[in-house]
């Protein structure tokens, strides 16, 4: 029963909502790219406070969810080897591979460690020169610079027993893939704020122009999302298709130049399969030629891996905004956070997990929203 109370400034939230309601005259479909935004939207019931005509379609921006099954299986294989210390962010621990997860690898004796920063993994390598230390380097443009810096440091410090299993993904090619898909219903994008903190906004005007689609760089807090929606709807109503920055406090047009330089040095663009979606051209980064010695895929023979995705899982459609999580038959029955069939049910950014935690059975939340709005301390 919280809703607007949970917004930091309920009065501002109310004003933004009123304005969105006032300007909306037709149905519009907006996609929030980032899983963090999806989580925030579902948690705070933002989609239910918006006019019925404004639909939020959840995008593929959960790096944990889109890391290819083959890469997860490789990670599990490497982590199981004696002598290896496998380091990962906590989010990857329960992501299901074909037949197990990192949690299970550890309970069977694998040395799996959770790190806060990739630099922690490098330090572990320095402290354990007799062991091979592998870091699982996944993430979007926000996480890529920290991982790039870590590989750069490994080389600079001559740490030979460190390597990285790299599966980075990039947002703009994913937007392009979504827009060229025949099923696409998206009319405007809320672009991921922290990706743009690093990359800036220069990659987006071309996409906005080519697909005649407004792109509004948006933050993650509830008020940020309302502001992003407000600006996108105003553009749509006017027939505009510009790039706007609604997250100026953390995003400059040029992004972070030092980080971008490091990315260009350590990584090179590559085609990348996205779990559940398929290969998207130029949508990933891998280590560049010069840093190839630090590539765990080269260091460890993990060639032929037969992957198997549960047939029931429809996370690919969920990730493309073609299906809402609760429309999947397994949702909440055979698939729960405790027994996840797909990564979207595990990750904090996964749409299935967000729906399960905050929107299961649909009923009470949907019914409560308008009342909560009235009851909140507004005005």
């Amino acid at each position: 029963m919280k809703y607007l109370e949970e917004f930091q400034d309920p009065r501002l939230a109310r004003r933004l909502l009123d304005e969105i309601h006032a300007v909306t005259t037709r149905p519009w479909a907006l996609m929030e790219v980032c899983g963090g935004q999806t989580h925030s939207i579902i948690r705070h019931g933002i989609d239910q406070l918006l006019p019925e005509q404004v639909e939020l379609i959840h995008g593929p921006g959960c790096p944990v969810c889109v890391t290819p099954l083959e890469t997860i299986d490789k990670a599990l294989e490497i982590a199981s080897r004696p002598g290896v210390i496998f380091c990962s962010f906590g989010d990857m621990l329960r992501v299901p591979g074909s037949d197990r997860d990192l949690f299970q690898v550890r309970s069977h004796g694998g040395d799996v460690r959770v790190v806060y920063s990739p630099l922690d993994a490098l330090r572990i390598a320095q402290q354990n020169p007799e062991r091979e230390v592998v870091f699982f380097g996944i993430g979007f443009e926000t996480t890529a610079p920290p991982n790039a810096m870590t590989v750069y440091q490994a080389e600079k410090l001559g740490v030979k027993n460190f390597s990285m299993l790299v599966s980075h993904v990039r947002v703009p090619p994913a937007i392009e893939a979504l827009m060229t898909s025949p099923d696409c219903r998206v009319q405007a994008f809320l672009a991921a704020g922290h990706v743009c903190s690093v990359m800036g906004t220069e990659e987006y005007p071309e996409l906005a122009e080519r697909f005649r689609v407004p792109i509004v760089v948006t933050g993650f807090e509830p008020l940020d999302i309302l502001e992003g929606v407000r600006r996108a709807v105003i553009q749509l109503e006017r027939g505009d298709h510009r790039v706007e920055n609604a997250y100026e406090r953390a995003v400059r047009p040029e992004g972070n130049p030092a980080a971008r330089r490091m990315l260009a040095d350590v990584f090179e663009v590559t085609d990348r399969p996205w779990r559940g979606i398929g290969t998207i051209p130029a949508s990933g980064w891998r280590l560049s030629e010069r840093y190839r010695p630090y590539d765990a895929e080269h260091r460890f023979e993990v060639g032929d891996i037969a992957t198997q995705e549960p047939a029931a899982c429809r996370s690919g459609e969920v990730l493309q905004g073609l299906l809402k999580p609760h429309e999947c038959e397994a949702f909440g029955t055979t698939c729960t956070p405790r027994t996840p069939l797909g990564a979207t049910m595990v990750s904090s950014e996964g749409a299935c997990a967000a729906y399960y935690l905050y929107r299961r059975l649909g009923g009470p939340v949907a019914a409560a929203a308008p009342t909560a709005m009235e009851a909140s301390p507004v005005g």
Binding site: M149, K156, R338
Partner: protein, 116 residues
């Protein structure tokens, strides 16, 4: 995985040629690499992702965001014991149906935000 949390720079030092800082995230103190924001000074605020300062932030925005994250239990999620969090999710009781904003501190929710 990629929550970016605002924090205040408390100390700066050079370690093996790398500019590192001690950063305070609403009481939790962590080491943070400043190589991507080399001119950041003690007392300034920055958004930090997996141990790296990525962009400056003004003090007021930083404080507001930190207060929000704390209220939602996100700081605990970000800096807490990840094995415990994963174990809890693996064996968790199902959350109650009236979950929005409900059990932000102790439940099986994994409510990190601000991802990209």
């Amino acid at each position: 995985m990629c929550l970016a949390v605002p924090g205040k720079v408390l100390e700066i030092e050079d370690r093996e040629g790398t500019r590192m800082a001690v950063v305070d995230f609403g009481g939790v103190v962590k080491e943070v690499c400043l190589e991507y924001l080399p001119d950041l000074q003690v007392g300034e605020y920055t958004i930090v992702h997996v141990g790296f300062a990525l962009q400056r932030l003004d003090e007021e925005s930083a404080r507001q965001t930190l207060a929000l994250f704390e209220g939602l239990g996100l700081l605990e999620e970000e800096f807490g014991d990840q094995w415990a969090i994963a174990a809890k999710a693996a064996g968790a009781e199902q959350p109650t149906d009236d979950a929005p904003g409900g059990d932000a501190h102790g439940g099986p929710q994994r409510d990190e935000e601000a991802r990209a």
